[in-house]
């Protein structure tokens, strides 16, 4: 993986120093909260309901075991012993004190990490394919370009105060695993007929209040020109993106307003001036960065392993795990292992310090000391020898990291929700837990097969509910009741689509029953080997909708004595969820 040189280290160290002084000035009152706000946000620091939350950048989701151990250290020393992996392939700590944050950043800098631009109206952490470099369908390894874009966007002076946040994703496989259609800029690295690398550039995708699938602005930008092309997109956006209304400020609104053709014309007029200029990438630089992403020292192995097959026959749990959590690797004798952070009943993405340390050890022993964080809030050991799978499974099982549910119903994406976040209308995590309990049965989940269930506590869509096959959104309702909208038919990947709301919203306790009814329709209607989303696409929403609303819900509503304690309307006073 990428290692800092003296320049990278110096920039990060100077950032820590700058930030330390900003915190000092805030604590002494020299900076008002209004002035400090964008400064702390550009360092990933949010003020949440209970405490400060720090979001640490994990560039394109790739970390070393050493960095994972540092997360464990931070969890223990400054937080409550755990961290939360996010859909942006980052980690968040939820219980911090402002005055500790400069020290945390100094600790991070010691392991080549930072929290730069993990929030705020700037270019955010670049995300990528969690299987980059090891996927069988990879056309071009996106990681060197992701790192080059990371450096280019770090402290870009012109684009630090954009109209709104700006997210870039990059993927290099035939199948999109980076949700490139749902980003402000989505890049797919590909090759032209001459075998030269370049980028299909999508722009104006995004979720939030106005979910939009990105439009293609250029079919093929040769690799040399990607930085200048992205620069021109950002310059047009910075100048013309709306700033009068926060909800209309994303680039997708500008692209829609101008139309993709006019937007492209403006971008390319700006770009004409930069093309072939000094910002053009050099093959020396791409090759230099690519030296950090060469193959580890793979052994010459074969795919056949009789021991594995025997053990699979003996152990149903292992067999389920092999089927769902182990993915094909492009090198014979190796496998990609997804460690599930979605054990039913647990909090999606949450990991304790102890688990982090064990995971770091597993990475050292079984996967060349590296890990990836997925946008579905799981962890990946990308280079495991197939002959180590049994031992790895046993050790990871002891830490509850082997729920065999990758891509299944309980592999839910969930935002932190109303217990943590000041934006949310409703709780997300307890709902994810309630759903996981209801559908805990592995045979049932495996029978349902591939499905995505994404939960957001509000329309801002941190839980990416629009692109879940089933999407759940906490919606605003009066009197502190929690209500959820359910949408159907969203998808990510090459066939990305935005889900449609099925009808009137539901109470917290009704949601699992709603999901059950949707699944009943699927089980009734599916053709052989047809996935949930394919059935939805074939038969449409109507049969699902009809069945869901056909009969009344008999779910007992739990009597909540003090609704304010569940979802407070305002957070001016410290608020403690019943969970803490």
């Amino acid at each position: 993986m990428y290692r800092y040189d003296e320049y990278d280290q110096q920039i990060v160290d100077e950032r820590v120093k700058q930030y330390r002084d900003q915190v000092r000035r805030r604590l002494s009152g020299e900076l008002t909260e209004e002035e400090f706000l964008p400064l702390r946000l550009q360092n990933g620091l949010y003020m949440q309901i209970h405490a400060y939350m720090l979001r640490i950048a994990v560039p394109y989701g790739l970390i070393s075991s050493k960095q994972m151990r540092m997360f464990a250290h931070i969890a223990r020393k400054y937080d409550r012993g755990y961290g939360h992996f996010t859909t942006r392939q980052n980690i968040q700590f939820n219980w911090l004190k402002l005055e500790d944050t400069p020290d945390i950043l100094a600790d991070l800098a010691a392991v080549e990490m930072h929290a730069i631009q993990t929030s705020g109206n700037c270019v955010r952490n670049i995300t990528s394919d969690e299987f980059a470099g090891v996927a069988q369908d990879e056309v071009v390894d996106p990681r060197p370009y992701a790192e080059i874009l990371r450096q280019w966007s770090t402290f870009h002076p012109e684009f630090a105060y954009l109209p709104r946040k700006f997210k870039i994703a990059i993927s290099g496989g035939k199948e999109d695993r980076a949700a490139v259609y749902a980003h402000d800029i989505g890049l797919s690295v590909t090759k032209n007929a001459q075998g030269e690398a370049g980028f299909r550039v999508l722009v104006g995708g995004g979720l939030g209040r106005t979910p939009i699938i990105g439009s293609e602005i250029c079919e093929f930008v040769p690799w040399q020109h990607i930085l200048t092309y992205v620069e021109s997109i950002l310059r047009i956006y910075n100048q013309y993106g709306r700033r009068d209304n926060k909800y209309k400020a994303r680039i997708k609104i500008l692209v829609k307003a101008l139309g993709i053709d006019e937007f492209k014309r403006q971008v390319e007029a700006d770009w004409a001036d930069l093309k072939d200029g000094p910002g053009t990438l050099t093959s020396e630089e791409v090759n230099r960065v690519a030296t950090f992403f060469t193959d580890p020292a793979y052994e010459k192995l074969t795919n056949h392993d009789s021991q594995l097959n025997e053990f699979k026959a003996d152990s149903c749990s292992f067999s389920n795990w092999m089927q769902r959590n182990v993915k094909a690797h492009r090198v014979p004798g190796y496998a990609i292992v997804v460690l599930s952070l979605k054990k039913p009943g647990s909090v999606p993405g949450d990991t304790t310090a102890e688990q982090m340390e064990v995971i770091a050890d597993l990475a050292d022993r079984y996967s060349f000391g590296e890990l990836r964080i997925t946008h579905k809030q799981n962890l990946v050991l990308a280079d495991v020898r197939q002959k180590d799978l049994i031992r790895l499974w046993q050790e990871a099982t002891a830490q509850e990291l082997t729920a065999p549910n990758i891509g299944l119903l309980t592999d839910m994406i969930s935002c932190p929700g109303a217990e943590f976040c000041t934006l949310a209308n409703a709780r997300s995590i307890p709902l994810a837990q309630l759903i996981a309990e209801r559908f805990e049965d592995w045979d049932f989940q495996h029978d349902i097969g591939e499905i995505s269930l994404n939960i957001s506590g509000c329309v801002n869509a941190c839980g990416q509910h629009h692109i879940g096959n089933i999407g759940i959104t906490g919606v605003e309702k009066k009197d502190h009741d929690e209500w959820y909208q359910v949408s159907l038919g969203g998808a990510e990947g090459n066939l990305s689509s935005i889900g449609k709301i099925i009808g009137p919203s539901f109470t917290f306790n009704q949601v699992p029953e709603v999901i059950d009814r949707l699944l009943q329709v699927y089980l009734r209607e599916r053709l052989e080997a047809e996935s949930f989303i394919d059935t939805v696409r074939r038969i449409g929403h109507v049969p699902f909708k009809e069945h869901v609303y056909a009969t009344d819900f008999t779910v007992a509503e739990e009597e909540i004595a003090d609704k304010h304690a569940v979802v407070p309307a305002q957070y001016s006073v410290p608020y403690y969820s019943p969970r803490f």
Partner: protein, 177 residues
């Protein structure tokens, strides 16, 4: 006092801001060194360009291209930041410098604070009228927050990868250290 060329200097330019009753055509531009709003320049161009020294300022929604052809007439062009979080002024500055070839003083006015100065100087500002309620000596420190940058902008024509020899991953054993 303003910051100019990285030092604190006295300043005698007046920034003319129109009040509600005034219009760009009718406002009387005072004598002396005045930085006028872009609409005033466009309306009163013939008279104003007779002056020995004149400046113009752009609001964040205005276009620097409107000054095309007139660029050399100004001793100072200012860009207003109505709020420090409004980042349009950065692209205005970049376009003035890099596209329109403006070489005289480029001044940031309005909500100009220490923590934005580093970025501002990178896109081409060389003068900063920092907010009067803040300590200007303190603001000066903002210009030196970082000693190295990755990407091109107006101040730095070459990206880091073209300026210095950066090392690749030479030592394979580094990977597993």
């Amino acid at each position: 006092m303003i910051i100019k060329n990285k030092t604190i200097v006295a300043d005698d330019w007046i920034v003319l801001r129109l009040n509600e009753q005034e219009s760009a055509e009718n406002v009387t531009v005072p004598e002396g060194k005045v930085i006028v709003p872009l609409p005033v320049w466009l309306q009163q161009r013939d008279a104003l360009q007779q002056r020995a020294e004149i400046g113009v300022w752009l609001a964040s929604a205005e276009r620097p291209e409107d000054l095309k052809g007139d660029i050399h007439k100004f001793s100072v062009i200012a860009v207003d930041f109505p709020k420090f979080s409004d980042g349009r002024g950065y692209s205005i500055a970049y376009n003035l410098r890099a596209r329109l070839g403006y070489t005289a003083e480029l001044r940031a006015i309005g909500d100009v604070l220490r923590d934005q100065l580093f970025y501002m100087q990178r896109v081409g500002f060389d003068a900063f009228a920092t907010r009067p309620d803040r300590n200007i000596e303190d603001a000066l420190k903002g210009l030196t927050d970082f000693s190295e940058v990755y990407q091109t902008s107006f101040d730095q024509k070459l990206p880091l990868f073209r300026r210095v020899q950066r090392k690749g991953n030479l030592a394979a054993d580094m990977v597993n250290e």
